[in-house]
């Protein structure tokens, strides 16, 4: 499946595919630095979700999930030496995607079952993933 049709902004901002498709993990896991499980707070207990964080598809629950990994909310998406950042995207108030900032200032995302890409934050905004609603950061290890 080509993902480009879902993200028309990428035609303007550009992106680089950095891995093959995989069903082993998703964007939430990838932003958290994992590649071996699918994170999602579905009501059917299928996806992985951190213990003690509500299994609900709310922005607050996603913020709390990343807080378990040491991230704290902030309002600055620019590159800060010594900090690692994640961005949560939401559509109509529901969290739908997360991206992680790379040390070069660009962002990396796993696109559902599709590839990992390197992109700008704006590149994934639109009718599929909505827009960035929260930035979080933690000290880069």
């Amino acid at each position: 499946m080509s993902f480009y049709r879902y993200f028309p902004q990428l035609a303007h901002t550009g992106c680089r595919i950095v891995s093959a498709c995989s069903r082993e993990y998703n964007c939430i896991a990838w932003a958290a630095g994992e590649q071996d499980r699918w994170w999602w707070p579905d009501a059917n207990d299928i996806g992985y979700w951190p213990a003690d964080v509500p299994r609900e598809e709310t922005i607050d629950a996603f913020i709390r999930a990343y807080q378990t990994l040491g991230f704290a909310s902030c309002d600055d998406a620019t590159l800060e030496p010594g900090s690692e950042k994640v961005a949560i995207y939401a559509l109509a108030g529901k969290p739908i995607h997360a991206a992680r900032q790379l040390s070069n200032g660009r962002w990396t995302s796993k696109l559902g079952n599709c590839e990992d890409i390197e992109h700008t934050l704006d590149g994934l905004t639109g009718s599929t993933y909505g827009s960035v609603v929260q930035i979080m950061r933690r000290p880069r290890i």
Partner: protein
């Protein structure tokens, strides 16, 4: 971990082979296990292909499961269990919501949540125990 025994479907008990979405026949199950007619198999293939093509680059398990084609597969009930299990055996994918909805059980241990291959293996073990897979 649920290990309940399910009643077996009785509607589709024809002896035609099962078919996967890739068009290869599914190994036959044990005698008396739910079978799927070629017509239902074709419907399953069509719906599974539609779901794969239309689910898009989503991470949301809920969104994937709410897709109309996926919901129709759930609606086909116990008769498609062997096909779903065979799909997990050949190409693990997000069929877990459908399997839980159809069977009402969950053989996946909590520590395996989100781990696609481990979840698939848990369902395949359950399928063999229940006689849905040979």
């Amino acid at each position: 971990m649920a290990t309940a025994t399910l009643p077996h479907a009785s509607a589709d008990t024809v002896s035609t082979p099962l078919w996967t979405t890739s068009g290869t026949p599914v190994p036959t199950g044990l005698t008396g296990q739910p079978r799927i007619s070629q017509l239902s198999g074709e419907k399953f293939h069509r719906l599974a292909a539609q779901w794969r093509a239309e689910r898009g680059p989503t991470s949301s398990i809920s969104q994937m499961a709410m897709h109309p084609a996926y919901q129709q597969i759930i609606g086909m009930g116990l008769a498609v269990l062997p096909l779903l299990l065979h799909e997990l055996a050949t190409e693990p994918d997000h069929w877990f919501w459908a399997l839980k909805a159809i069977t009402g059980v969950d053989p996946v241990p909590p520590e395996s949540r989100g781990r696609i291959r481990a979840m698939a293996e848990a369902w395949l073990r359950w399928g063999r125990q229940q006689g849905y897979l040979s």
